[in-house]
Amino acid sequence: MQIKVNTKATEAPDGVSIQQLLQSKNLQGGSIAVALNGAIVHADKWATTTLKPGDNLELIRHVGGG
């Protein structure tokens, strides 16, 4: 299915959970925040939140900054 990750169109397996999507890219929890369609999704809900076509996922993490 087509979803957006950080506004970029991306192919993802149907019914994939946030947790599975992150794992597929080797991204760990603990240093990443996730927002789905503008709303923050807490880490404890990642395994049980499945994505639907057209969903917009934002993955955010720390980088160097002043």
Binding site: S31, A33, R61, H62, G65, G66
Partner: protein, 260 residues
């Protein structure tokens, strides 16, 4: 005497905060943290490039250091609030540096939007350190709104120009009861010492260290400067004068009579 800096429930030995931006290599960050003896570092929040995630900077920040996300990128109170809430989700505590900037030339902060952001975020339990343009009325509003400290700029971000706002910062130090932390523009350890001698509670330094030829050595120099400046402030410097006053006694001179 306990001269630790108390902010947000923490008692800090070090009055030097470090920014983690602009380092040519993330590997320098733990060395700079060690050399500077800092206990607080700022970080930014950005989207992960899903196709090319790259290194995780947080792997280079040692345990035990307070990580303070900034709201860089925010142009309004609403954007700053959103970033702060997201930052808390990344699990690095509840400190936040509010940075609301819509001026892209001088990167001067928007005091009005910053006040609004503090009002909301203080209700949500954040420990708020706002980056601001040194204006006493704005600082008072930030205190009322629930800030934990006030962070006036010394000079625009990244300019290394020192305390161009010196007199306005001195007014804040005299009139604001919260810690006043000079953030931005400090380019040399001597400027950090100057800020501390004036009575600043701490300084935040990023560019001056990250862009030095030897960032680790520069971090060490800044640590010593901040300590020296703080001690000088506590020691109570003597008065300045225009007219000389001899340092050696004015009596009992040895004089040589020269006979022609």
């Amino acid at each position: 005497m306990d001269d630790r800096l108390e902010i947000g429930g923490s008692r800090l030995e070090s009055r030097l905060f470090i920014g983690t931006g602009k380092f040519p290599d993330y590997r320098l960050i733990p060395e700079v943290i060690k050399a500077s003896r800092t206990q607080v570092v700022t970080v930014a929040l950005r989207r992960v490039d899903f196709d090319n995630p790259g290194e995780n900077m947080m792997d280079y920040v040692p345990q035990g250091v307070i990580t303070m996300p900034n709201t860089s990128g925010a142009r309004s109170a609403d954007e700053a609030i959103r970033i702060a809430r997201i930052a808390r989700e990344t699990g690095c505590g509840n400190w936040v540096k509010i940075e609301v900037i819509s001026d892209q030339k001088y990167l001067l902060p928007d005091n009005f939007e910053t006040i609004k952001a503090i009002e909301t975020l203080a209700r949500e339990g954040f420990v708020i350190l706002p980056y601001m343009s040194p204006d006493l009325m704005a600082a008072r509003r930030m205190v009322e709104a629930g800030a934990a400290a006030i962070m006036p700029l010394g000079a625009p971000i990244g300019t290394n120009r020192g305390l161009k706002t010196k007199e306005l910062v001195q007014i804040l130090i005299a009139e604001i009861d919260l810690p006043v932390i000079v953030d931005a523009g400090i380019g040399r350890p001597s400027e950090a010492a100057e800020a501390m001698e004036m009575g600043a509670a701490a300084v935040l330094v990023n560019t001056a260290i990250a862009t030095a030829e030897d960032p680790v050595l520069m971090a060490e120099a800044f640590a010593q400067a901040v300590e020296a400046g703080r001690k000088a402030y506590l020691a109570g410097p003597g008065a300045t004068r225009h007219i000389a006053e001899a340092s050696s006694p004015l009596t009992g001179f040895l004089s040589v009579d020269v006979k022609p």
